[in-house]
């Protein structure tokens, strides 16, 4: 018989989860489970709807990465139309996705995780949030808010709306071209965004020496890594091919067709979570643990492809053996490198003349009964797979969301942290927050992963192997 500890809910993540820690008879940690406790059923209630409604419906999977869902969904719809979309539309969709990743990474770093990194993991929980940061570090809070705003304004400039901007991204391309006036507005915000990112990078690296224990114990273990890369192996967020590397950094599969994800990705279920467990099929379940997202993307990419990000990538690679960085804590670092890349890409796209062409949409009726759309969302590889009848009505849907790919890794990471910080059968506030912080480092988006969202009270309980209450902590 084992004992259990529960953290409920896990806060300052985008979603609804709790952590249960199971103890052995001797009182040591046996395993920890990251449980997702809500479900909305998008895959079922979409059946019967016209395919062109899918972008606006599935964007509602998540209010944080709604643009990534819009793009994966419209890419699946492009496949159903069987059209080749204009290059300008691709450039504009890419630009919009840069805005998405910038705002999401800013949210993760400043609004959600910086209270841990700046105020301290053991600081007063009542102040350990963005409002506490506004009070104690107003300048920094303002910079973070403005960086997120910069990303959101790219989306708003293009689509007229920041969240669920589904009227502009449409199957076959985008609805309207970009004017020079709007581009000027985006360009004018770039220098400040870049300055904030560079200052945050340098502050993060300076503070890293205070967190050496956390770097070592924060889900620091070898796994496979997966993500999209360009045909040349560079960092990619909108299109490209799937690359899988092993824990030593060896490419085990390259140039995989993302549309055939089901040939190499399987999905499993456990009775204690609404979030499914994808695994790398050649290794089987549950051995086929791999990670996705910013850390994975930097590990798999041969290079970023922009000067500042590539310079920073060299330093990032020094944090791991053979250049492969395994510590989940360093997802934060990877997000900063990606922020640099996205800002550089934004500039490149805005400097490209073809971005301003009027040819932005290919029009067609459904010409295929199936479509798969794949993109790299802020948190990793996002897959939308639809089947339609001859009139284009949805008959079947499967979605694999960025956060789901990391599910096996979450459980390993949480177990590792619990083993380090749960001692002598007692709980401490700092321990609970560290277990949560490792999850926050992954930056899960559970509204996406379960196509659900919610919130509950925390009640951590520790039981001995006889079922007697040893310790209790609430806040």
């Amino acid at each position: 018989m084992t004992s259990t500890v529960v953290i409920d809910p896990v806060t300052r993540i985008e979603g609804h989860a709790k952590v249960t820690i199971l103890l052995n008879k001797g009182g040591s940690v046996k395993e920890a489970r990251f449980q997702v406790t809500d479900f909305r059923g998008f895959e079922k209630f979409s059946e019967g709807r016209p395919f062109y409604e899918m972008p606006s419906i599935t964007s509602r999977t998540c209010g944080i990465c709604s643009v990534s869902h819009l793009l994966a969904s419209t890419k699946a719809c492009d496949e159903i139309l069987a059209v080749s979309i204009p290059r300008t539309a691709i450039l504009l969709r890419r630009l919009m996705h840069m805005g998405q990743i910038i705002q999401s990474h800013a949210l993760s770093l400043f609004h959600l995780s910086s209270p841990d990194l700046l105020l301290g993991m053991d600081s007063n929980p009542a102040k350990r949030n963005i409002f506490g940061l506004i009070e104690s570090r107003p300048d920094l809070a303002r910079q973070g808010i403005r960086l997120r705003k910069f990303g959101q304004e790219i989306i708003e400039c293009l689509a007229g709306k920041r969240i669920h901007p589904n009227e502009w991204v449409v199957p076959g391309g985008v609805k309207s071209p970009l004017t020079k006036e709007k581009a000027g507005k985006m360009l004018s915000g770039l220098p400040e965004a870049l300055e904030t990112t560079l200052a945050t990078l340098s502050m993060f690296k300076n503070r890293l020496r205070n967190f050496t224990g956390d770097v070592e114990n924060f889900g620091n273990f070898p796994t496979y890594y997966m993500g999209l890369v360009t045909p040349e192996g560079s960092l990619e967020h909108y299109d490209g091919e799937i690359r899988m590397i092993d824990p030593k950094g060896k490419i085990v599969s390259d140039h995989l067709d993302p549309k055939k994800y089901y040939e190499y990705i399987g999905e499993a279920v456990e009775p204690w979570s609404y979030m499914k467990f994808p695994y790398y099929k050649p290794l089987g379940y549950p051995k086929g643990t791999y990670r996705v997202g910013p850390l994975a993307r930097l590990n798999i990419a041969s290079q970023c492809g922009t000067p500042l990000a590539d310079e920073e990538l060299k330093q990032f690679r020094q944090m791991g053996e053979n250049g492969i960085v395994q510590s989940t804590f360093l997802y934060h670092y990877a997000r900063l490198v990606e922020l640099l890349f996205c800002l550089e890409q934004t500039k490149e796209i805005l400097d490209e003349p073809e971005t301003y062409s009027d040819h932005v949409q290919a029009r067609a009726y459904p010409n295929r009964n199936e479509g798969v759309g794949v993109a790299e969302a802020p948190r990793g590889t996002l897959i939308h797979h639809y089947k339609v009848d001859d009139q284009g009505r949805i008959t079947w849907v499967n979605m694999i969301i960025a956060t789901e790919h990391n599910n096996l890794a979450y459980n390993r990471a949480v177990t590792q942290v619990a083993k380090r910080y749960v001692k002598r059968k007692r709980l401490s506030e700092g321990m609970l927050n560290r277990v949560e912080a490792v999850i926050r480092a992954f930056d899960p988006c559970l509204s996406c992963a379960t196509h659900a969202w919610g919130n509950m009270a925390l009640d951590a309980q520790l039981f001995d192997s006889e079922g007697n209450l040893l310790d209790k902590l609430t806040r």
Binding site: D8, P9, T11, E14, G15, H16, Q35, V36, T37, D38, F39, R40, G41, E43, K44, F45, I57, R60, C62, G63, I64, S66, L107, H111, L112, A126, R128, N129, I130, F131, E135, P138, A141, R142, I145, R146, K149, R162, I163, G266, E267, V269, E270, P271, W272, S273, Y274, K276, F277, Y285, S447, A452, W453, G454, N455, M456, A457, D459, T474, R475
Partner: protein, 180 residues
């Protein structure tokens, strides 16, 4: 402003996409001004885990879709002076409520996700909060004082609503809030 003078504000996420909370953050620098006037006592953005007593205003996003959410919402109502349905899911059920119109029960929706599209261990999870047969807008479960519609409500609308409320005036939503 002294903490004791500040309005005690809470925000709650039930079954929804977080878009309404993101729109709240889309007030951008106005969030800094808001922090002058309110004390955030409970929120998914903060670490307090038990919904506190004596809350002045609570913004609730999402529908009531499982048993735990129903229980939490009742507790929120009992401890809040002004309870606000924030966004279309809370106001009408919206996208989260689309499952309500299916001619099938909860089991078949779960079966599609956890049995039909799965390669290993197909099974419907059991050690998780039980879903309600229907996803409900808030007012079907508790009394609601204000409704702020939109998917999501715009940052400007949320800002107008909070500004009026904090000034002690009743926000006039007619002509300002619209569908979509």
């Amino acid at each position: 402003m002294e903490p004791a003078m500040k309005v005690r504000l809470a925000t709650v996420w039930l079954s929804g996409c977080s878009g309404c909370h993101m729109s709240f953050l889309d007030q951008d620098e106005r969030v800094i001004e808001l922090a002058e006037k309110v004390h955030l006592v409970y929120s998914p953005l903060a670490d307090v885990k038990i919904f506190p007593e004596n809350v002045d205003v609570t913004l609730v996003e999402g529908t009531v879709a499982n048993e735990e959410q129903e229980e939490l919402l009742k507790q929120v109502r009992a401890r809040t002076r002004i309870l606000v349905s924030l966004g279309d899911c809370a106001v009408t059920g919206n996208v989260t409520g689309l499952r309500n119109t299916l001619n099938e029960n909860v089991e078949s929706v779960l079966g599609h996700a956890y049995i039909e599209t799965v390669d290993a261990n197909p099974q419907v999870p059991t050690d998780v909060p039980k879903l309600l047969e229907q996803a409900h807008p808030l007012h079907e479960a508790v009394n609601v004082d204000y409704f702020v519609p939109g998917c999501p409500p715009s940052a400007d609308l949320i800002h107008y609503f909070l500004t009026e409320l904090l000034a002690g005036r009743a926000p006039k939503m007619e002509g300002i809030a619209k569908y979509g």
